[in-house]
């Protein structure tokens, strides 16, 4: 066993400058030629551990033994030298270059001073045949699908001599069909002697692909096991530390009048791509409308137009019987009765150097009791902040804590605390549970269902198909800026069905879709 071991990470500690302890004495052993799953909730420290292995972060304490030698991985370049490669969740590719150009970037075959482009294509072809990963080497990266981009990333690490490949939540961005392809490719690679570390929080995937797993929780390693010896239920217990029941019970939707209406919405991005092509649909009171789709098929633009962040090109957005002006103004949308949980909480959802309470009142500080005649009543503000901490179970000392000191899940709770207490009739939830722990995600999903039971309208945009199927009453699928499917009865479909529409393999006629 010992000689079979390619990597050992011993007693790794990582403390970030803001005092967050991401890794507490973590140990990891990976055998040569296996697929090793690193399982844990978001915030369990698995990504940090891998960043340390790839030289992006330096450990506070601990040692790394790679191929029998103690190594000091001070940078990603060093890691690549050792033969460690990493495929990030967000792809590091140049969209305007071709696939082959991306792969050879930094190691170009030369002909005099210029790049020998024919040699590059030949080389990429040869490598992709060798590893059984076909790629369209002459196409531009911006024109290929997400699954293909990921494959390009994998080849990139392979041609740089990687023997150990780290994949950071590779399936998060893939449709079920693409996932199947990826798994085939990974199995193929291990047969060629490569070792793979697979970061994930999806149990079914672990069961399907991994040989062994290491489970992490709250910055610690809970245990390592052979996958064949352990059931999914046992894994989830190890991961969460208790039994979880994530099924949400809800009554069939009782819908009323239309609270949000979108008519013929069009939008063209700055790069000339028409990302919304005449979208029309409505959301009624008492229902949750889910929006499915592979990322980049118009969801971002749709949400940003409805919330007044970017201007629409043409068409109508009617919120609560009030039509949005063409000029962008998020304040107008809020006044029309809209709440918005943004997809990227750090970009738009919070002010990191301000306190929890300051963040929660950002949309209502002008109202009594938070201020009178332009003077802020800090006592009321902080009192309210404390109430919100209790109601939304935000784990912190008090409402005076700065946002940047909180974990991702707690930051998201601050965002939802504000948005769910704004007394709006419509809530736009854009990836509301992305990157947060199971308990917080469950809490937020239940709140969304509660909104609907209070006769409010919810538009839920999510890349998490399980979440959509669980929470939404109806689902529409976006593909290249158009609605290609509409499911009125969510209980009757599954992820694979959604996947086919998301990939553009299938498409409903307008009769099949019915009344949107």
């Amino acid at each position: 066993m010992a000689e079979n071991c390619i990597l050992e990470m011993n007693n790794i500690w990582k403390i970030y400058p803001n005092g967050v302890v991401a890794n507490k004495d973590m140990n990891l052993k990976v055998n040569k030629g296996e697929i090793h799953a690193l399982l844990g909730e978001n915030g369990a420290g698995k990504s940090t551990l891998m960043k340390i292995l790839f030289g992006i972060e330096q450990p506070t304490k601990g040692e790394i033994i790679y191929e029998g030698q103690k190594v000091d991985i001070s940078s990603p370049n060093k890691a690549i030298e050792y033969g460690i490669g990493m495929v990030h969740q967000h792809f590091m590719l140049v969209p305007s270059l071709t696939v082959a150009e991306n792969i050879i970037l930094g190691m170009e075959p030369k002909k005099g001073l210029s790049i020998n482009i024919d040699e590059a294509y030949r080389f990429v072809q040869e490598q992709s045949d060798l590893f059984g990963l076909p790629v369209p080497s002459k196409e531009k990266v911006k024109d290929i699908s997400v699954g293909m981009k990921q494959r390009v990333e994998i080849i990139k690490t392979l041609v740089r001599g990687a023997n150990l490949i780290i994949l950071d939540e590779p399936t998060a961005v893939l449709t079920p069909q693409e996932t199947v392809d990826l798994f085939k490719a990974l199995k193929n690679l291990t047969e060629k002697g490569k070792t793979i570390i697979f970061i994930t929080h999806k149990l079914n995937e672990v069961k399907e692909i991994a040989d062994r797993i290491t489970v992490t929780r709250r910055g610690k390693v809970v245990g390592t096991a052979d996958v064949k010896d352990i059931t999914e239920i046992e894994m989830s217990k190890m991961m969460v530390g208790r039994d979880v029941d994530i099924r949400i019970e809800k009554e069939p939707a009782l819908t009323g009048e239309k609270l949000m209406e979108i008519n013929d919405l069009e939008y063209t991005r700055a790069d000339g791509v028409k990302s919304l092509k005449g979208l029309s649909f409505s959301v009624r009171e008492g229902e949750i409308l889910g929006v499915a789709g592979v990322e980049g098929n118009g969801q971002t633009e749709l949400v940003q137009i409805i919330t007044g962040i970017i201007p629409r090109e043409s068409g109508q957005v009617i919120l609560n019987q009030i039509e949005l002006p063409l000029k962008t103004d998020p304040g107008f949308c809020r006044n029309a009765g809209l709440s918005h949980i943004p997809s990227d909480r750090m970009e738009r959802g919070v002010a990191p150097d301000s306190t929890i309470a300051e963040n929660i009142i950002s949309d209502r500080f002008k109202k009594i009791p938070f201020s009178k005649k332009g003077v802020i009543k800090w006592k009321q503000v902080y009192g309210f902040g404390e109430d919100m901490i209790k109601e939304f179970d935000i784990r912190t000392d008090n409402a005076k804590t700065e946002i940047k000191m909180l974990s991702g899940g707690n930051i998201q709770k601050v965002v939802v605390a504000r948005e769910f207490t704004a007394h709006s009739k419509i809530t736009i939830a854009d990836q509301p549970t992305r990157g947060i722990d199971i308990a917080a995600a469950d809490f937020i999903r239940r709140r969304l269902v509660k909104e609907r039971e209070n006769n409010l309208a919810v538009l839920l945009v999510s890349a998490d198909l399980t979440e959509l199927l669980e929470v939404a009453d109806r689902i529409i699928v976006l593909y290249k800026g158009e609605i290609v499917a509409h499911f009125k009865h969510v209980k009757q479909i599954n992820e694979t069905v959604l996947g086919e529409y998301m990939l553009g393999i299938k498409r409903m006629t307008s009769e099949e879709m019915g009344d949107l």
């Binding site: 302890v21 489970v215 190890m238 738009r348 300051e358 500080f365 802020i376």
Partner: protein
């Protein structure tokens, strides 16, 4: 976290200490005698004169050293307080725009042009006690605000970098100010380029006639309280803080960010506009600057030292004017040039703003605190592994 705030304090203290030490070494080298005597004797002489120079530098503003003993230095004290007045005001102005992360560095021009235009009012407005003074100051503030509205408008509407526009406009303000004084307000009787004298009734009341201790310090402290109240207690100040913290978040929350960007620059311009005229009204009694006095630039140093907190601005300004007065006194009694203070300022600013300075030490204390918390916290239950 506590460690964070404590660390900021340490860093400022240590930066000041290092700056003083570097200053001492420079003074020591400058005092090294060139006469032909034994090396050890040279060392001793250099030590003695460096110590002497530093005695004046560090205490001169408060203590008058006589052969008979030490006494309170009234003139030094008053000079210290008077010199702090304009830079407290510019420090407040800069801290306002910096809170909004608007790098408007036009305080110098706003201050200069405000003083030049208000000079006309101070000369020609009928002399009514109090009323004249207030009117002169309001004029200066209005000019400062108006001038600041140019980069403010260009940023808010055209997205032109306020850093560039406000910097360039400082030159415009400077030459416009000189033009006004030269062409309309010049005292032809005087030997140099100065304005006519202000009306006596427009001048600020004095607390001490001999050394001209004027009440400007109370104006500056009053301004401090006002700015503190606006920035920390009003919805307007809250909005300014939010656009500085995360502009996209502020917009998402429904705050009109262009409007706030414009308003905060204009408001800070009004504050900065009053900085120069206060000194003229209190001390000089006429406009006499041929060069821009640099209070706007000092304001940047002070706002940085005070971490944009209005309540710390007077402390930072008093510190700066203390070492400046001390340096001048040192220059009077020894042959060390008072300009050495510029080196000290540079070192302090460099170290205080250098994020990585002492970061290792900070990380170590954070590690300790975090590890301690871990030990105290409940251990994670380790599940069954097979």
């Amino acid at each position: 976290m506590k460690a964070d705030k404590r660390f900021t304090l340490y860093r400022i203290g240590i930066s000041v200490g290092i700056a003083l030490l570097i200053g001492y070494i420079i003074v020591f080298i400058a005092s090294f005698p060139s006469t032909d005597i034994a090396f050890m004797k040279k060392m001793k002489e250099a030590f003695d004169s460096a110590n002497e120079a530093y005695k004046y530098f560090l205490t001169g503003a408060l203590i008058r050293w006589r052969i008979t003993g030490a006494a309170f230095n009234q003139s030094g004290f008053i000079q210290w307080i008077n010199e702090a007045v304009p830079i407290i005001i510019t420090g407040l102005a800069v801290s306002m725009v910096f809170t909004a992360k608007q790098f408007n560095i036009g305080a110098e021009g706003q201050m200069f042009l405000g003083a030049a235009v208000a000079t006309a009012v101070a000369i020609y407005f009928p002399g009514i006690p109090f009323v004249s003074t207030v009117f002169v100051i309001i004029t200066a503030m209005a000019v400062g605000a108006g001038f600041a509205s140019i980069p403010g408008f260009m940023k808010a509407k055209l997205k032109a970098s306020e850093l560039v526009t406000s910097l360039m406009l400082n030159y415009v303000a400077f030459f416009m100010g000189l033009f006004i004084i030269k062409t309309f307000l010049r005292d032809t009787e005087a030997g140099s380029l100065v304005s006519l004298e202000f009306q006596q009734q427009a001048m600020l009341p004095l607390l001490n006639e001999r050394y001209r201790w004027h009440i400007g310090i109370f104006f500056a402290l009053g301004m401090t309280v006002l700015v503190w109240f606006i920035m920390k207690k009003t919805t307007w100040g809250y909005k300014v803080k939010l656009i500085g913290d995360n502009m996209k978040f502020a917009e998402y929350s429904g705050i009109n960010s262009s409007k706030m960007i414009f308003q905060v620059q204009v408001a800070a311009g009004a504050v900065a506009g009053s900085a120069g005229i206060i000194e003229l009204l209190g001390y000089h009694g006429r406009f006499l600057w041929l060069y821009s006095p640099g209070y706007g630039w000092d304001g940047i140093i002070i706002a940085t030292l005070a971490r944009n907190n209005p309540l710390f601005v007077p402390l930072a300004a008093l510190f700066l004017s203390y070492i400046r007065v001390g340096a001048k006194i040192m220059g009077r009694y020894t042959n060390i040039a008072p300009e050495i203070v510029a080196i000290l300022q540079a070192v302090i600013i460099l170290l205080v703003t250098a994020e990585a300075f002492l970061a290792k030490w900070k990380q170590r204390s954070i590690n300790k605190e975090a590890t301690q918390n871990e030990i105290n916290a409940m251990p994670v239950q380790v599940g069954d592994t097979k």
